[in-house]
Symmetry: D2
Subunit: 393 residues, 4 copies
């Protein structure tokens, strides 16, 4: 069992409210399970629908008490504020265009926040939120799921330790198949809003999965993207939202890279692969085999480093529940690791733990993601010309 600093220092889990995630959402149940898995949080309130009746039905199905099933985020925040046992944090997993408003409400209500990526749909808005977060002193964590996987953290730790030397080339493919057919003809609820640019933002593919890929590059290499050359568009004829982004980039240290992100890749199953080439070898991770890392060295040796093994880095061990070889964890545990980081941050901000950088993505990562989206769109509009990414904060 991983030690639980929240129980140890705070005496009980933090109380969490949830905005969004009713069926057929995939991430709704994921957040519900992940947030409570390690007893950093207990889920006590929620807004599972804006229709009062459905909010009640779905809230109770999620195990909430009747009087804490709300029909709006505003109602939840004000209602909970009046309770002695009100929520201390909120998880926002609603459609993209509402993120900014709900994060703002939460921060103004004194709550800490977990918000699904992208932080919002607009860089200016993101900067304003970052500013507000700074002023309120509350934490904003971003659900970049992949950074919660132990072996992604192992990759980061090994690169940081210089195991493959100076970074020279990074390759990310994020191939998903959810939009490989004409879903426009009969979208379910989870897809309907994504197909509406007014809701899903200026570039569906970039906001939905491109920012995941972008975050991974920075997370494992420790370098920021300096410039991009991008071609963003659609594979599916007649589609109104982007479903493909082909991006070349340079990192701050001059290394090269590429991101291919696509939601219309027929037959692909949310396949993320990440390869980082350095001076003396490379490291490769694939979502499909998320519990292992491949390290190939100049001498011909290929090492498979596996989850739960004694040769993991401390950073990976700290993110592992089943520290015994051959006992698989999954995506829910990855998200749970992000919640653990948010809880650590909340303890620190309450003076109950020393301040320390957590690995959970923060609002600064959200701002960087939006800057990436905007630079890619600018480059694509300019025929693939190199566009530099501004730095913020």
């Amino acid at each position: 069992m991983m030690p639980n600093p929240v129980l140890e220092r705070f005496g009980r889990p933090f109380r969490l409210g949830l905005a969004g995630g009713a069926p057929p959402s995939l991430i709704g149940p994921v957040h519900r399970t992940a947030s409570v898995m390690d007893q950093r949080f207990q889920l006590v309130a929620g807004v599972l629908s804006s229709r009062p009746e459905r909010a009640l039905t779905e809230g109770r199905a999620a195990g909430l008490a009747e009087d804490r099933c709300y029909a709006s985020v505003e109602a939840m925040i004000s209602g909970e504020a009046r309770r002695p046992d009100g929520i201390e944090a909120v998880a926002i997993i609603t459609p993209n265009d509402s993120h900014a408003r709900y994060v703002r409400l939460a921060l103004e209500g004194g709550l800490d926040v977990m918000v699904e990526k992208p932080l919002c749909n607009d860089l200016g808005e993101a900067l304003a939120l970052a500013d507000l977060a700074r002023r309120t002193g509350r934490a904003v964590a971003l659900t970049h799921t992949y950074s919660g996987y132990p072996m992604i953290r192992d990759m980061r730790a090994r690169i940081e330790a210089g195991e493959i030397g100076q970074i020279r080339l990074v390759q990310v493919d994020y191939m998903a198949g959810g939009l490989a057919t004409r879903v426009e003809d009969a979208p379910d609820a989870a897809r309907r809003w994504r197909l509406d640019p007014a809701v899903s933002g200026p570039s569906l593919v970039l906001g939905d999965i491109g920012t995941h890929a972008h975050h991974l590059v920075g997370f494992v290499t420790g370098e920021r993207l300096a410039s991009v050359s991008a071609d963003v568009g659609t594979l599916m004829p007649g589609r109104r939202v982007h479903d493909i982004a082909q991006v070349r980039f340079r990192l701050g240290n001059g290394a090269r890279g590429r991101i291919d992100a696509c939601n219309a890749a027929a037959g692909a199953s949310n396949q993320v692969s990440l390869t980082v080439y350095g001076e003396t070898g490379h490291l490769r991770w694939e979502h499909r085999h998320h519990g292992r890392l491949v390290q190939a060295n100049l001498d011909g040796d290929i090492r498979i480093i596996g989850s739960g093994q004694p040769n993991l880095t401390d950073m990976a061990k700290a993110a592992t529940r089943l520290m015994r070889p051959g006992h698989p964890e999954g995506l829910q545990e990855a998200v749970a690791n992000l919640y653990c980081g948010l809880a650590d941050e909340m303890l620190a901000r309450r003076g109950l733990a020393p301040a320390a950088a957590t690995l959970t993505p923060s609002i600064a990562d959200g701002v960087a993601g939006l800057a990436f989206v905007e630079a890619c769109l600018a480059s694509s509009a300019a025929g693939g010309a190199h566009v530099e990414l501004a730095t913020h904060g």
Copy 2:
């Protein structure tokens, strides 16, 4: 989200008490997470140590209220019986030699039971427990973890549907490395009791992992083992407990099979593989890639069937939380599926749901496991002679 019949029909999760599982146990945290993951159970009481002080510390670390941290199973059962909100079920994850006593106490206390395999250390005892369970009308579920994996259930459903025709050959390898070194020289708590035959039973390897392999064969083929020819012993020189079992068997339908189970396989990481050959093809599952099933047909086609894909059998879909391709679950979800089955059974026995066979292993599987252990030991003692397995019940 999978529908939750417990909340729907019973109005709240069942209340669960836990016996065992303090650090460095691996399965302690697994049971704590798995039992509550789907809100079929809430964990409200526990015996995490027989030393009162440690029972309290570890119980609170597990999120229990102070007055429900007990120092003995007896105390928990009687204490909880006096409460209006007392436990309705108990999970027994203590060392093997205590299983029989605690299961008996639980049944006599009117509780339903989840117990770690092996059910107990002796076939006679197992039969007595089965008899007691029958008389009390309570459910006893057995933690044969692997049968909770969606793709194992997919394999079962496909064999049942005749996708590979009549079964002809079954091969199981369960290779683990935990005893590959002289752990006897400095065992941790989790290994200490396993190395003592008085506690771990007549054959460590057979009780610990051999019964898992045995259960898998029956679970996926729907056939029982009719006879065995076994060679059981030790790979590690000077060891007092068995760490290797090599078993050939025949199924009830005349098919052949083998089980190799070993806890002393250096470099192995709890690697379970299961291949079933039928008339028209074979199915193969490996724990290392637990989210997929390989189906090879006579025409040369090899199909990879993956977790979360639309082409899963209904049986597999019903055991899957993340019904979207490429979103991995893990071992905790497999155990959670077993708890869901126990809860279904508890509903049925309370008249809140129609009686229906669950997929969660039952006390009959526990009895069959002990019969397997005894037959293997008899065969091995007789130089590998064929020994028939008695049928019980």
Copy 3:
């Protein structure tokens, strides 16, 4: 055994001369083995070095008669022309800058030709050679090795048959590690000429491996590249030749694609991967598992199609010697398939077989390869601007 139309119709194998390939060349022995493997050719003469003594020693080590070990291509062509049993074809596997001259000599000498890629170092020169070939009526085959693998041909046949529908996206990575270190400091003979741009051509990475990737795209999709946006340069600081090319492209049908080609990828082992996404699924091939093809469909099914299996396409079967499942062939057989195609072409041109398109790359593919190289360099020089590829012939 594949039927041998050369023995059947011509009565004996064609007589082949070899230019180049002395140690430490890798491809020297490959061509020697591949050309004779199927008895389409017999190797009877060669120029293994320009130094007479070494030409003799290495020639004899390759099994040549003493009087047919020549010290120059000119000498071989004229010497053999004087013999009644002189060579009918020549294989040119010398450094890139000599290809044009030797191909010209061979054509003018009435010989058919197998030449290693790239055809030459300059598009103008390539066009002139194509013109010469047309005038002489001799065949020029190009050693794009990968197109000789049965499973690449299977991919082509399946795409042609519409198994994945209209093509939408193509991804190729060709990652090699031969130049991942400062080989400049102590190059062996095989690397020395590659590091000299005057010999290896305007862009080492594009000529060496980029043209392989380019050819594969056209070979399997049946579409030509219409335009590219490229960034070509060096990963290794201070290197004089290109070792990385990052290319985005559009096919004639509007589909998108990318090629990443790199010879400086530390830890990479000549890893080529090729994925083609269509409307209804995708096909993926990796050199590392060259004997299988992965086909993923919209319904979630993933098929592994394996070499030697009965479910291969006829195109793949015709390129397979070991038509029995699970009997691996290798790279030498792939090159041998190219020689079989050249022999078929030679038979046809001699009126001994009906004219038919072979799958072996031709001089037109060589011209297209050079056009690709030039377009990539032009795009890279223009900051990644889209550059259209001219069509020739």
Copy 4:
């Protein structure tokens, strides 16, 4: 290029005659290609059929001169003996029951021999052949193909070097699917003789593939099988020949092991896997990925050791033509390695090279194989009782 001691010391390749291998034989073309691949042998005579006309047609299709296409082995041996350029060795790839007679004829004719496994169908006969070979001083090599793969040799070298310590457990599965259907109903020529016990021997599965598995165990561990407990029979109802053998064994050093060999495994593609567990780790090889070896260590590290890589053992490098990472060889090269070993032996026996143990299986391995077959059959007849293997020579 591997150095060629035959050309160097003997001045030309040895002259080889071939007995057997006409279509639809798979191994006919394999032997023809493999024997000449490295110019240790040239194929100059053959008996491809016992019908004179077909012997001529098939012989010419195999590239033989008309006057060296014979219709019986006797005729070939006597005919060639009368020529100044007659054969010096013969490859016998005829049905099993003829091996003994042809090996005897060859040895008596002063020829060296390559013979397909099993050496013959009877242990007594095998011992007589070994005696004859000793008296004639000729070499008899056995085509245990798998021992020719570089990575099997790498495994042997690493075990010999102590990389995994003392051997404790060996597991071999040889799963083939050629007899998974009722081939009896319409057998092709290659299967017809196999289905006749008078031709294929006392146990088809053991002679056909069981001896391969048996040889691999000894080849990589350096230990002989001391005893077996076996269950040999049929998976296919009504079959007259064995298609399944399940064998447990002990090695000379006390280690345990198992062999499962089956030709009736539906959907299996000649899948051979071999795992050797030692004190400090294990090594695993699979035919499907024959170019790599997996080494798993106690510390959790898993190494993939790949063909052509610089970290190979010398033993593996010496068996590799394409000594550059990522350039695959295949089965033909494995058999070619066996021919290289036979040629080395022939040089040594002619005083042209120092005597040295080759890695190519010898007649002693053939004898050991027959002893294994007989012991397995004896054990199976005795209900799986342990049967010790006699040692010979």
